[in-house]
Structures are given as C-alpha cells and as structure tokens.
C-alpha cells in the first residue's frame, strides 16, 4: 500500500505530468467558461494531444481539463445566465439572481469552493469504493455485463430532459452506428456499403467531436452573439465561504453523497447530479421560498454534487469500461489507447497507476481553488473574446484533431457528418448524449448479448437466473418503465384535480 503510493508519487512527479496538468487546467478553465463550449467538447478536443503523451500525463490532462471545465461552466452561468456547460444549467438562474443582487463574488466563490470540496469527496469515494467493487466484478459473467451496459444506456436516456421515447430512439441510433464495420460476432462486413473506410467502424472520438464541437459552430452561425460580460471589479472571492461551509455543512454533505451515487451509476453523470441535488436542496430546505431569488443554498448543494460525480464517475469506467457520461466515455477511449484497459484486474495489476489517478484528481481539485480565483478575476477579459475569433480556431482543431486520430482524412469526413447529424437531432429534441453513449457501448453490449445468447442456447431465462444479473435486470427494466409510471401518475393527479375529467 505504502509502496504503491510512493510509486504513484514517482509516476506523477515528472515534468511532463506537471506541465500537462497545469496546461490542461488552464485550457479547461478557459474553454469551460466560454458560453456554448461545453466540458465534453473541451475534453474531446484534447484527445489528439493525449496520443503523444505518456499514459499518466495523458490521463492527467483529461482529469484536469474535465474537472476545471465543469467548475468554469459556473462563471458565465453566474455572470450572463448562460451556463458554460450543461452541468451548470441547473443553477444558472439562481447564480445569476445572486449576481443581480450584487453577490457575484459569493456565488462564484461558492462555485469554486464547493466544487473543489465535492471533487475531493468524489475522489475519496473512488478510492474507497473501487477495490471492493472490483472484487465483486471479478465474478461477473457476460450476463451481468450485458445488464450493466443496458442499465447504463437506460440511465443515459433518463438523464436527458426530453421525451424518453426520443432519448431511447437516439440510443438506438448510436447502437446502429456501432454496428458498422467488421468487428461483429461473424466478422463479416456489416453496413459498410462496400466502403473500405467503414470496415474499421466509426471511431467514437470523431463522432463525439462532430456532435459536440461542429454542431456547436453550426448553431453559432444562426444565433446572435451572447452579450459581452460587463466589466466589474470583484471583491474578495473566498471571504465568507468558510462560514457558508459551516452553515450549510449538511447540504454540502448531502450534495457530495448524491453526486457520488449518481456518478457511480453507469450512464448518469454530472448533469443529472446537479439537477437532482438542486431539486433536493429545494425540497428539504427550511426556506424553500427563497430559491430562485438568489439564495446560495442550492448552489452549495448542486456545486458540491456535480464535481463529486466527475470523480466517482470513473468507478464504472475503470471497473467495467462503462462510461458514466460523455466525458467518462472519452476517458475510457484514452485508457484503452494507453494500454490501461478497464477491468477489475486493473486495480491489482496496475495499482500504482490507479493511485496516480487518485492523486491527480486530488491535486487538480486543490489547484482549482487558486486557478479558479484567477480565472474569475480574469473572466471579464477572457470572455470578451468575440465568438468570431474562437469558433474558427475550434474548426481548425476539429479538422486537425480528427485527422490525427487515425492519420487519415476519413476522420474529418466522420466529424463533418456527425456535425450535421448532431445538429439536426438537437434541433428536433433528440438528446445527442444518449446517441454518443450508444456508439461507445455498442460493441460491448453486442458482444455480451450475443455471447450470453450462445451460452444460453437462444433462451432468455438465464439472463435473469444469476442473482446479481437479476438485480441489475430489475434496475434496468425499472429505468425503462420509469417514464411510463411518471406519465400515469401525472394523469392520475390531473384527473383528481378536475373531477369532471375523472367522471367522464
């Protein structure tokens, strides 16, 4: 234990890792704070860079950039009411209301402080939860893996704040995309239409870049430029945060725990954690009437929650290769590329690398406090950069980055195609995150499904016979029929509210 810890320290105390951590932090802060450029996009555009780094430095960039970008999304949320990333959307109104009351420092300070605390709590949970879960995971067969992956996809459709039918359709589209190529049980070219470029299948990373970056540039073409952030002098940012911590320690802990639980669930990540925690904070608050008028309580809980889920979201990623959200999906791609194939044995065979990941999470979250304060102070300058200078650079990064992934031009075609697909889907209310998770998990879910079917001789019963498989199946099916229950409940409530309707 102590030896592995020392080894892990040695792994991360190289110049390459330190520079990578710092550079990725600054990058994550800047991209995350620009309205319209999400944390997922920031991480996806980093992937080509990680190709050329050592494994630990590569993971360091992903860890640092994603944690910073999730926090930085609070900055435009508070100052402009435009959340920088979807995870900040839950409380952007509240934070903006605080800014209008002249409490911008308190709102942003709470963002940075409770994000850092949440991130560290999430990391601790990752350290504590992962090894015992790895023990259990060793006994998993393809049945469990199938249900786990299925549960992940179902959670992803629940997170989407859109029609569940459309979310499930998006997921199917993603799985269909994953069918392309010759990597299937028969090894035959499937849906390749005779194009050799399609034989290898669609790479998830170019698809992600297309859906999250190109589609965003496309939207920018049609929407008016967001107003520049008004220049303002900030007072002390951290003042009073300790008082808030003491006053709202219960909310903070609850936010941390909810974030950790949601992060551990496959398919659910920071966005869902923020929404659930904000709603919970309002529900259990002693002064719920203050919510929406610039009250810091919800901010504390949701901020503590979304960053906790970032770290604990690595639990299913590292153990099963099942991503908690789109950022984790990118991280899994990087892990595979660097020879750290996710799986329960990772924790025994590559223990020092795992400790290095924990340490990097903790360092990144501690660094978040000083860097975040600098970023908040600089925000009114950085965010004045007009969109017409940022977007062209994003376009170049899309072109070069997608080329670099396979050193062929087909990657660029993929990015352009998925840009169009993502744009059309988003415009029509189809959540793209569900599709992306479908693409990432398609091969795995097919393999476990077909292998299980072969083992069971085509019968469905063995899918439910093993105890853990049965539990996972019940959860997955529960997630599937959950929207139906909500719908029925809403109908009943409406029926009770108007007796005429229930009589007729």
């Amino acid at each position: 234990m102590l030896n592995t810890l020392i080894e892990a320290f040695a792994l991360i105390s190289t110049w390459e890792v330190i520079i990578a951590l710092l550079a990725a932090s600054v990058y994550g802060l800047v991209i995350g704070s620009l309205p319209g450029l999400s944390a997922t996009m920031a991480t996806a555009l980093l992937v080509p860079v990680t190709f050329y780094l050592s494994p630990i430095a590569a993971i360091a960039t992903i860890v640092a950039a994603s944690s910073m970008a999730i926090f930085a999304g609070d900055i435009p949320g508070a100052l402009l009411r435009i959340p920088g990333t979807p995870a900040s959307a839950a409380y952007a109104d509240e934070a903006y209301a605080m800014t209008r009351k002249g409490e911008a420092e308190r709102a942003l300070g709470a963002g940075v402080w409770f994000s850092a605390v949440g991130g560290i709590a999430g990391t601790l949970s990752l350290m504590i939860l992962a090894p015992p879960l790895a023990e259990i995971a060793l006994s998993f067969s393809t049945f469990e893996y199938f249900w786990l992956a299925f549960l992940g996809l179902m959670c992803a459709t629940l997170v989407a704040r859109s029609s569940p039918v459309k979310a499930i359709a998006s997921m199917f589209i993603g799985l269909l995309v994953a069918c392309i190529g010759i990597e299937n049980p028969g090894g035959v070219p499937r849906f390749t239409f005779g194009m050799t470029d399609l034989f290898g299948g669609i790479e998830p990373i170019p698809a992600l870049v297309g859906v999250f970056a190109v589609a965003q540039v496309m939207r920018a073409m049609l929407t008016p430029e967001p107003p520049p952030i008004p220049k303002r002098k900030f007072g002390s940012i951290m003042a009073g945060q300790w008082k808030l911590t003491r006053k709202y320690h219960r909310q903070m802990t609850r936010g941390n725990i909810v974030g950790i639980i949601i992060g551990v669930l496959p398919g659910a990540g920071a966005d869902m954690a923020a929404w659930v925690s904000y709603a919970m904070s309002k529900r259990f608050s002693k002064e719920p009437e203050k919510f929406g008028t610039g009250h810091v309580e919800g901010l504390v809980e949701a901020g503590a929650s979304n960053n906790a889920s970032i770290a604990s979201g690595w639990v299913p990623s590292l153990l099963f290769g099942i991503p908690g959200d789109t950022i984790a999906a990118i991280a899994i791609g990087v892990l595979y590329m660097k020879g750290l194939n996710p799986g329960p044995t990772l924790f025994t065979e590559k223990a020092s690398s795992m400790y290095a990941i924990y340490l990097m999470f903790i360092i990144a979250n501690i660094m978040m406090i000083p860097l975040g304060i600098v970023m908040i102070r600089l925000a009114s300058h950085v965010l004045r950069a007009p969109r017409s200078t940022v977007m062209p650079v994003i376009m170049l990064c899309c072109a070069v980055g997608s080329f670099a992934i396979g050193n062929n031009m087909f990657g660029v075609v993929t990015v352009a195609t998925f840009g169009i697909i993502g744009y059309v889907m988003e415009e029509n209310g189809y959540p793209v995150a569900a599709m992306v998770l479908g693409i990432v998990m398609g091969t795995m879910i097919e393999q476990s499904f077909v292998t299980s079917l072969i083992k069971s001789d085509g019968s469905v019963l063995p899918f439910f016979e093993r105890p853990i498989a049965a539990i996972l199946a019940a959860m997955a099916i529960g997630a599937l029929i959950w929207p139906v229950l909500v719908w029925v409940w809403r109908r009943l409530k409406r029926g009770a509210a108007s007796p005429a309707a229930s009589a007729g």
Binding site: V165, L175, L176, R190, A416
Partner: protein, 161 residues
C-alpha cells in the same frame, strides 16, 4: 431546422426497418444460432417502434418547451429567411472542403481559407479575420505538426520548421 415529430418519427421507422432488413440478410455463422444478424435485427425493430411512437406523439408531454430568452433592448432580432438557415451547413461544408483540397493546397493555405470564411460568416470585419487567418493556421501547425508530430500536408506552402 425544426421538423415536425411526424416526419422525424417516420424517418426513424424507415431507418429501423432498413437496418433490421439489412441485418437479417447477413450470412449467419455456420452451426451457430446467433450471429452478426441478431443485433441489427433487435436494434432496427426497436428503432422502428420508437419511430412509430414518436410519429404518434407519445412522450411529447415530457419535452420542455424551449425557453425564449427575451431580447435585451437595443439587441437586433435575428434575421430570418429561407437562405439564412442554410448558413448552418457552412461548417461541415468547410470540413469537407478541407478533405478535398488539403493534400493539394497544403495545410496552411486551406486552414487560412477556413478561418477567414468562418470568421467572416460570424460577423468579423476583415481587420480581424485577415490577421486571424494568417496567425491561427501557423499556431495550430506549430502545435500539431512540430510538437505532436501529426503529418499535416505541406502542399504549396511548406513551413520552414
């Protein structure tokens, strides 16, 4: 480009049916009941079912109406028109342009064109977009070609490093 649910739903029915049919046509693995044909069949049928449900408006009540941010006084309303919507296709078109000509023109020239067009389309004046079109490709080339050793096409204008 907002389409009615009926249109997107029916499109998905078609896509799902095509996928299921295409999967069904795949050759099975000899001597095995399940092969590469099962998964597309399941996915395709599921997609077609979802498409039908969407076309009939099931689940529509869950969708949140888009919140329209009120315009600030002094902010011009976005122009509308048939051709205006086509501007959204500019970014993917530029990427395909990159695929088509990058090998012949080289990275620097192609990238400069992409940057100039994108910046201008987003409303930058030439005083901003011209220097950007010169500097951004050189910067990206430095990072990706020099630092990360991505083989970017040299074309007509090779860089001195």
């Amino acid at each position: 480009m907002r389409l009615p649910d009926r249109v997107t739903g029916l499109f998905l029915v078609g896509l799902g049916a095509a996928a299921a049919y295409g999967g069904w046509q795949l050759p099975p693995v000899p001597g095995q009941p399940v092969g590469p044909n099962v998964f597309p069949l399941v996915i395709g049928s599921g997609l077609a079912l979802c498409g039908l449900a969407i076309a009939f408006g099931i689940g529509h009540s869950f969708e949140e109406e888009e919140e329209l941010v009120p315009l600030e006084p002094g902010q011009a309303p976005p122009p509308t028109g048939k051709l205006y919507g086509l501007r959204a296709l500019l970014p993917p078109a530029l990427l395909l342009f990159y695929v088509a000509v990058a090998d012949r023109l080289g990275f620097i020239i192609t990238a400069a064109l992409i940057v100039y067009v994108t910046a201008s389309a987003l409303g930058a004046r030439w005083k901003l977009s011209l220097p950007l079109a010169v500097l951004a490709p050189i910067g990206i080339h430095l990072i990706f070609s020099k630092l990360l050793r991505v083989p970017l096409p040299a074309g007509l204008l090779p860089m001195p490093w």
